[in-house]
Symmetry: C2
Subunit: 201 residues, 2 copies
DNA sequence: GACGCTAATTGCATTGACTGCAACTTGCAC
DNA sequence: GTGCAAGTTGCAGTCAATGCAATTAGCGTC
């Protein structure tokens, strides 16, 4: 394998640790002083890194506070959805898929919880959070296009994608309301039920 | 009336014109060169105003391109919704309310169309657009809280708000797909139907 | 254990968005 | 035309974010 060298060991570990240090510093400082009274320079210094390095890890200050990272879906979950499974009923399968995303979203549950709390005091973060949803939804729409050949649906990809995004956020909110019991994915069925209830008037 | 002086005439007119000039310049320049290759300074100059004044009209460059403004709902539509009407069925009434918002959203239909087009080439604008939805949804959630006393619902305000946001965006997309026929509100029933279709699996 | 290779960090300079403030201009009422 | 209030502008300053070039550090090889 010439291209994909195994990411060694110490390198990967340091990368993970530095990333976490930045998130931790960002969340702590912003919690203490508020989003606009903390500079990237301060966050970086608190994590023992240079400002320039901060931007090697995150695209923006907000991203660091939310601990945003690339999401990647389980290969098998993905393959199953694309081929029209697991149940064959779109809404049911979508639920499974969203659960897959949610579980991979926040590897560290306390970090996710802190992010949720900060969103309440800093509305701008909600916007960034929703913007991040968009990326997941984009990924998801690609899967939908593939699945469509195996199992067509009269509903637009856009709409399905938005519903998936809605479910992600609704689950997160239900999770927060529950006092952060379990993980966000555990509250997904509740979100679906609420949505059905509303649509049935 | 000591406080609310009638906004005279020439003042209001100029304000409207300058606002439009800024939006027009922003949309034109961004369409020609792309969002990141146009500065606020250039937009302001093209509209014959100072950079500083630009920021008296808009909070950010993106807002100007989208022509974002404060939304305000018809007082009667609002009152009727709060008191549990017009039909008494939440989903139906929500649809009416969203239609009300949509109609007030873009006073100038061509401007809205140009904004939609630019969102396709500049994904960052989609995020801003969705963030703007958030504000509308916030407004809406206040109404929901009021309505709740007149007519309780088992569904959370959050969820209802998100569905409203979804309907707004879905209508806009359907409008775009139709080649911008009529206005966005005209495509709302279509959006609702799609949503129902999906939920019924 | 030195050698080279590549990934990652860092400093530096620069651009441009955005804000606060204070002076100024302009529309409007009397 | 005089005075008031709204709106505009210039100016100085802060800070996020990016590109570039130099340096450092991990890792495999001999």
């Amino acid at each position: 394998m010439p291209t994909s060298a195994p990411p060694s060991n110490a390198r990967a570990r340091q990368k993970r640790e530095r990333r976490l240090a930045l998130i931790e510093a960002a969340q702590r400082l912003v919690g203490e002083r508020g989003l606009d009274d903390v500079t990237v320079e301060e966050i970086s210094a608190a994590a023992g890194l240079s400002t320039r390095t901060f931007f090697n890890y995150f695209d923006s200050k907000d991203d660091a506070v939310l601990g945003i990272q690339e999401i990647e879906l389980d290969a098998e979950v993905r393959a199953e959805f694309v081929s029209g499974g697991p149940s064959g009923r779109l809404m049911t399968d979508l639920e499974a898929l969203v659960a897959g995303f949610l579980r991979n979203a926040a590897p560290n549950i306390e970090q996710g919880e802190r992010a949720m709390r900060l969103m309440i005091s800093e509305p701008r973060l909600v916007q960034r959070h929703i913007a991040w949803h968009q990326r997941v939804v984009g990924e998801l729409e690609a899967l939908l296009a593939e699945r469509r050949t195996a199992r067509p649906s009269p509903v637009d990809d856009d709409t399905i994608g938005m519903v998936a995004g809605l479910l992600m956020r609704a689950s997160a909110l239900a999770w927060a309301r529950s006092g952060y019991e379990g993980d966000a994915a555990a509250h997904l069925p509740e979100a679906v039920a609420q949505l059905r209830l509303l649509l049935d008037d």
